[in-house]
Amino acid sequence: MSSLINSIDFPYVLGALIKVAIFWITIMIICAYAVYAERRVLAVIQNRLGPNRVGWQGLLQPFADLIKFIFKEDIIPMSVNRALYVMAPVISLVPAMMVLIVYPFGPDDLPLPGGEFLTQVVNDLSTKLGLGWNVDLRTVDLHVTHFNVGILYVFAMTGLGVYGIVVAGWASNSKYSLLGGLRSSAQMVSYELGLSLSVVAVLLMAGTLDLTEIVRQQSGWGGMRWNIFGGTSAGEGLKSLAMAVPAIFAFFIYLISAIAETNRVPFDLPEAETELVAGFHTEYSALKFALFFIAEYVNMTTVSVLATSLFLGGWNGPFINVFPWLGPIYFLAKVFFFLFLYIWLRGTLPRLRYDQLMNFGWKFLLPAALFNIALAATIAVLVY
């Protein structure tokens, strides 16, 4: 059994767990305040006040909502398929959460304040306990892990999230839920094509599938050489600007597909109130409903993170070389911009009709994305 214990890299596992905990809390807080921001911003757009009573300007509203969700009566209707009904919210939330291990929050080797002291404390403790650890906490990487298929991993996990919605729709044993589940599965499968094909243009520029590596490549021009401005991969000089054309096309195709993929307005057909009551989560209440709700916002965050990292340079920005801790601030600012865009669209656009949605996905976005790949490949060959 000693070989089993020796084969585990305890400092690495422990570090990863601590990072996961910190990032998980960060994402949870982002999601909670995205909900709050949504209600306040929509209120401004619709010329009313929104929640402003719990705490200063209503800032504690998310926690009040959470407590309400926890203590509400959890109703399980008689005719549901009990096992699947209970499993569905979990199936929807867990894959969404699993993506956060590849979020590139900030640059590598960030100097940790007080890192020198921490390193000494941990190493002293390990010699005292005879663990033989040798950790270096002077610098930290602001991502849990990175592997060479990071983007594919994200797509795989978001693809699994569909089952939560589909299973919820089927297990609820209600016609509104079933129709909502069917619509959402059809919609998500359709728009996944546009989503993944639009990303191919960026992959052609970057030459790698590793998310952290793609972000690192965009650090030229004092942190402003983002992929949407042509990126670095096509070499130096003005010629590389030509790559900006397919990148900008890809960016817009990505944005539209991402909004459809996360079932948000104007593509929120799976939960169209006027037709389907509340769609796939009609029969859900209390904490189970809250899990679907959180999963939706985590998915929104995930596509925002991807958009930020692939097109807008991730943590890159001005003065990043001088103050590396600006990295996570830039990163979160860009993510918040996309989250704001979601809310803004919700306050502005009406809902599409279902056939319009399908036609748009298959007859416009898919060919446009394919054409864009050809364009990107041609320009890449000409510029290199």
Binding site: M1, S2, S3, L4, S7, I8, L84, F147, N148, V149, L152, Y153, F155, A156, M157, G159, L160, V162, Y163, V166, V167, G169, W170, L178, G181, L182, S185, A186, M188, V189, E192, L209
Partner: protein
């Protein structure tokens, strides 16, 4: 107990994923409810992806989930839900004699697996990861270009064929519907009826 002295975490992961895959595979064939079988199959796919991960073939693992669990199985579940497939009835009569075939077929399968296992040695650790994106792409577009292209044509043919079959049926249906509509759209009978009623009144 010699082997157990060399056990590592990766072995435990292998055992976990492998047993999960086997249990889920039994679930696929033993369940009467098609949606449970489909979910079992999804679990099988995901645990296979986990097995690929323990072999450091991350690309294959990701593709396994994207293609099988993310695309194909969604369509399966979609169809099961759309057609509202009921629980399968026990069809004892039809499969009465098939069960005698099961034992020899099972033995043949075991023999095959044993034969294959005998030929596989311990693969030597190579510099290039067999499941990396570059290696897969290189194989696909150089050595195996023709089989790859031929397969895509085959899949295209299957799609066109199914479209054709579906269309032929729906053509008759649309003709019927159009016929019914033209009959319904003739305005004269309604007017005559109402005028008759007025007369009677």
């Amino acid at each position: 107990m010699e082997q157990f002295a060399q056990i590592q975490v990766s072995h435990l992961f292998f055992l976990a994923f492998a047993s999960l895959a086997v249990v889920a595979a039994f679930n696929v064939i033993l369940q009467r409810n098609p949606i449970y079988s489909a979910i079992g199959l999804i679990v099988v796919m995901c645990s296979l992806a986990g097995l690929f991960l323990t072999l450091a073939a991350e690309f294959i693992a990701a593709i396994q989930i994207i293609v099988y669990a993310g695309a194909i199985m969604v369509l399966f579940v979609f169809v099961i839900m759309l057609l509202n497939v009921r629980e399968e009835d026990a069809k004892a009569d039809r499969q009465k004699y098939l069960k005698f075939l099961a034992v020899p077929l099972f033995l043949a399968l075991i023999a095959e697996v044993m034969a294959v296992l005998k030929t596989i040695g311990n693969p030597a650790a190579s510099e290039t990861v067999p499941g990396a994106v570059e290696t897969v792409a290189e194989g696909m577009f150089t050595t195996y270009l023709l089989p790859f292209e031929a397969t895509s044509v085959l899949i295209l043919m299957a799609i066109v064929g199914s479209m054709l079959l579906a269309r032929r049926e729906s053509k008759e249906e649309t003709d019927e519907i159009e016929e019914a509509l033209t009959v319904a759209n003739q305005p004269t009978p309604i007017v005559e009826e109402s005028s008759e009623e007025e007369v009677h009144a």
